[in-house]
Symmetry: C2
Subunit: 369 residues, 2 copies
Amino acid sequence: MINQMKGSRSMEFENAPQIVSAASVVGPKEGEGPLGDCFDLVADEAEFGEDTWEKAESTMQKEALQMAIGKAHLEAWQIRYLYGGDLLAQIIATSFGGGTANADTPFFGLYGACSTCGESLTLAAMAVAGGYADYAAAVTSSHFGSAEKEFRFPLGYGNQRPLSATWTVTGSGAFVLSAGCRDASDSASDNDLKREEQDFIEGCIIVRGATPGRVVDMGVRDNMNMGACMAPAAADTIYQNLMDFNYQPEDYDRIITGDLGEIGQRILLDLMKEKGYDISKQTMDCGIEIYDKEKQDTHAGGSGCGCSAVVLAAMILPKLETGEWKRVLFVPTGALLSKVSFNEGQTVPGIAHAVMLESHTYETCSGAA
Amino acid sequence: MINQMKGSRSMEFENAPQIVSAASVVGPKEGEGPLGDCFDLVADEAEFGEDTWEKAESTMQKEALQMAIGKAHLEAWQIRYLYGGDLLAQIIATSFGGGTANADTPFFGLYGACSTCGESLTLAAMAVAGGYADYAAAVTSSHFGSAEKEFRFPLGYGNQRPLSATWTVTGSGAFVLSAGCRDASDSASDNDLKREEQDFIEGCIIVRGATPGRVVDMGVRDNMNMGACMAPAAADTIYQNLMDFNYQPEDYDRIITGDLGEIGQRILLDLMKEKGYDISKQTMDCGIEIYDKEKQDTHAGGSGCGCSAVVLAAMILPKLETGEWKRVLFVPTGALLSKVSFNEGQTVPGIAHAVMLESHTYETCSGAA
């Protein structure tokens, strides 16, 4: 682990966990976007066969989790601990989704707004790297219908959206983490997960470390401009990560934020420049990648804790798997508000949890881990 | 760690973390109850000087966290990771409470309903025992005013409450965990926390292990009878703990649930009898302890994630500290619902996270840890 000096906040895993499988399930609008062909499952309709948006989100999340476990060739009970969350009050999408679907697995409910994907991956990685679990899973979701109802206006009201607003992604991503990398020739492994049996991760993607985020409140109060609320937190976490690991931006192939959108991304670049770093070559944002702004009328981009999760599963991990990218800093960003806090005039602080992902072949992995 | 066999869910810490300090802050009604003299701070009024119930809860939580850190003779930055949550939508009491108060500390937001105290202690203990942090903190809170508004009716409506209903505790408990036990004579310790400098924990209270809970849904739908919703989860977790550690109920001085109340406790005893265990001699419930049922008109007992937290800080830890109790299973219980899920006709599943607490003198502790 990194020295716990004043100011440092990161962790580096001595036994870096491997992401052994991932799954993404999205709604029809996401299926029509630029990444449409990359998702594991695109639903025909956003209701997912349910009669409420909340149940639709739960069903979508169950699908994603079960698919990820299946891809890892595991049975549900082999997932020792489950870390999950969503955007809804009292995280009911997850309580009735992944938490219920995997009823034999202890469940740690999380809330980090749209940063929850990073939070869940960090905690799952800590559990696996710390020897508490052979396998842990992380699942998050968001749904346009349930989120608009939760945070903004009923869909039937048809409110106008400013250009700074983001569009909540209907999607759920799930990930299975295991202890250490496994080589196909490693017959001494006491589990059945062999390289030739895996149908998702051919290379070895490890979670090298993490920089958990802190609450950053710059006094922004506009719930229709989440990018501005979250950008300072993203800058804080990315800067901290570079400091703690003594890295330059070039040490990453990509630094990928969750859902800053176009406006938030510009603020992030400005804030990082103030701190002395130009990350314009490395930066990417899941919210910008997932929709076609011109054709899909999504304004600043996509958002929600499903946004970063499905882009990680459908685009980032595959590029790490093939070795196109060697090292990525994945930084889901969250805006901390409720309709009550907003209506009571509170600010909208941000939080960003960074996860360091590295691509290895099975030959180089054990040396690296 | 315990063998990760099918069916087992517990963890036993090789390097058991110590609870080095705890603090409890409550409202006036809790101060008038049987434990009134035990709390660190009893507020004169439930508003805590704020103009909304939500801000009152945040302020109360900040107080508890800062007090716990102060009692441990630490500075805020020395808390490496903070785990916290509350009952409100998007856990705003914590985002604007402990999360903001300790702005230098990375924050993991949690939601486990009233079980969140157990969830936060488990994750903080995992972080410390896993070597990720020298110090981690856990904080949870609930507030009668904010909870009634969130889950039931506006206070001004003056609704009648059935006898099965519980009264949400206005209170916040905070805990600081450190790696391993420290002896006053251990001058080689690389931190400043010495026995003689501690003003709270004179003995050594360790977190021996934990049994994280899973979502247990028995189909109960009555949000005015939370005890019945949560009792099956409590029974599930307690039974699992006894199985995993091969313990009998007598191996614990007390098995203390969070907020089952009187009705839930009766159901728990019945369910445990069905499983072949009589825990009637060991069982206690924080919700029953905190109020005087006859004088305070609280019906089935207290509830909320502040309930178990303040009773742990004010009553359970002191009895472990003096050695009156040697080993306690602390089992905060949560009911997983939101007003949306309830109004949409969903069930109210339960979850219970168990934490194993042991009392040691400084002489026996290192051998035990």
